[in-house]
């Protein structure tokens, strides 16, 4: 590993993107992720790249679509309301199979809501906020170091599968500073993008980037291809962390909440309660198999989110009734407190572990 720096999460994303070979950024300002733009505006012109402030989030995602269509590594970033505006574009990018990295530093909603951290865009990102049957890879880092590493990874995944890889953080993750240790060289994967629209130079067939197929049989085939790709990704690309594998109770949490959960685990240990953490790192594909690894010993699961309970549904789907699932959530920018989580753990302990 190389240089160590104290860095804001948003800046780490921007720096990581540049290191990953992303020299094109199109975005529109919105709190709490503006530092990504500021960083890019400063750095990209110095490395021969392009920073462009679009007229809107809608324009930004379409600039990304255009840039990505030429095989260029490209990124945009925004926060919740802005990401909502990108939904049509995201669906097009999915249908046309263009690689792109999209960052959502989630703030609290709905509507204009607030600018404090939230995880309430899980459904939108993981189920499909746009129209049609499509998916995007959703990565949920929980530290500034991971923001850096997963951003680099996102570009590889996007290129590998020709689709959107989304970094989903929250306002705190974007704003906070931690130490990042940079690699001396990034593990950039290179793909031969023969599909890219870069001008055929009279030396090959025309390339066309499109998502329209008026013939239903053709469109169904396109959809089946997409579904097959998604199946492969689900098989190969699930990422997660299991902490304290032999625990009786598992907290399921991602992002910054997972870190708070870790401190609860220590508190619980002091009280003789054996709590573990199951932290999905890919939210889509959701790591169902992680649950299989702990289910034999685990008595119950507690999902903790900064939402009304969105990932909760995927946890239930993964468990399919095999073990009880509880939920603790905060909304509106409130962050779950260790004491409150601990209280839930104690209740679950009394119900499912103590007299077992």
């Amino acid at each position: 590993m190389g240089q160590k720096l104290l860095m804001k999460g948003n800046e780490a994303i921007a720096e990581a993107a540049i290191r990953a070979g992303c020299l094109h950024y199109f975005g529109y300002p919105i709190t709490p992720q503006t530092e990504i733009s500021h960083y890019m505006a400063k750095k990209l012109p110095k490395v021969g790249g392009v920073f462009l402030q679009a007229e809107s989030e809608v324009a930004a995602i379409n600039m990304v679509y255009g840039s990505g269509s030429t095989g260029t590594r490209v990124m945009t970033s925004s926060s919740s309301p802005g990401i909502s505006l990108k939904q049509e574009g995201l669906s097009y990018i999915a249908g046309s199979q263009i690689p792109a990295v999209v960052v959502n530093i989630v703030r609290s909603g709905p509507g204009l809501g607030g600018i404090q951290p939230a995880q309430s865009d899980y459904f939108q990102s993981c189920k499909g906020g746009g129209h049609g049957d499509y998916r995007q890879i959703v990565l949920a880092p929980s530290s500034v170091q991971e923001l850096y590493e997963l951003t680099v990874e996102a570009f590889n995944l996007a290129d590998r599968y020709r689709m959107v890889a989304m970094i989903m953080g929250d306002g705190n993750l974007g704003q906070m500073m931690e130490v990042v240790e940079f690699r001396n060289e990034e593990p950039i994967e290179h793909y031969d993008k023969q599909w890219a629209t870069v001008g055929h130079e009279n030396s090959r067939e025309q390339n066309v980037v499109t998502s329209i197929h008026l013939n239903p049989a053709v469109l169904e085939k396109m959809n089946l291809d997409l579904q097959e790709k998604y199946r492969v990704i689900k098989e190969k690309e699930c990422r997660y962390e299991i902490y304290n594998q032999d625990a009786d109770i598992f907290i399921v949490a991602y992002g910054i909440v997972a870190r708070i959960a870790k401190s609860v685990i220590e508190m619980a240990k002091d009280k003789g309660i054996n709590v573990g953490l199951l932290r999905p790192i890919t939210l889509w594909p959701f790591p169902d198999q992680a649950f299989d690894q702990v289910i034999d010993k685990a008595k119950a699961f507690l999902t903790v989110e900064m939402s009304s309970g969105q990932m909760l549904e995927d946890v239930k789907l993964a468990l399919n009734g095999r073990k009880p699932v509880y939920f603790h959530g905060r909304m509106g920018g409130m962050v779950p407190a260790r004491d409150d989580i601990m209280k839930e753990i104690r209740n679950i302990y009394n119900l499912h572990v103590k007299n077992d």
Binding site: G68, N202, V209, T210
Partner: protein
Amino acid sequence: MAIVFQKPKALKDTPMHYCPGCTHGIAHRLVAEALDELDIEGKTIGIASVGCSYNSYDYFGCDMIQAPHGRAPAVATGVKRSKPDNVVFTYQGDGDLAAIGTAEIVHAAARGEKITVIFINNTIYGMTSGQMAPTTLLNQYSTTTPYGRIADQHGFPINVCEMLATLEGPAYIERVSLHDVKHIKKAKQAVKKAFKVQIANKGFSLVELLSTCPTNWGLSPVESLKRVEDDMIPHYPLGVFKGKDLEV
């Protein structure tokens, strides 16, 4: 005997799906002729929009991208900023460019984005069966102005060239018409100039082509051309709105 007129090379053999007499076909040919004559098909990337020409990539031979409704200028911006040495054009209808895509065209123009915009004004939404467009003339009937366009209810038609000409970004803006041979020849020069402006790196160029939609106007193709001349040109005067003296 030599061939004095034939389908340009940059237009593929695929028969076009446009309605009989629809001047979209002429506009396509003019673009293709420009690509041929400037010998740039190989480095051109076209952006198809949403409208009757949604699949213009089936006709143009260059690399192409199909853009979401109204967003072609943003897509083109993404392409051009990534590949500044390529030639990039959009092909957009009046619903696409002047309604849902207003912000995108205004800002691409204001940025002086080095792209060429081919703007087909047929005063109607052709593809979706004849709804009012921002360019629909007053009193014109459409499926959403069944009693005619009334300013008080539906607002006034928008003159795109005049509006964009107030911006500093555009290097060249011209309005032409496809209603007769003479004007088609003029239109051809305008389209070609628009591409030359881009190649010379002068900035944003846009050509508005007054076009027909016999199907949704409920007129024959011949009557349609007459309507362009009689009704449209008086409201959409032809001419150069920006870059009159620009030599390329």
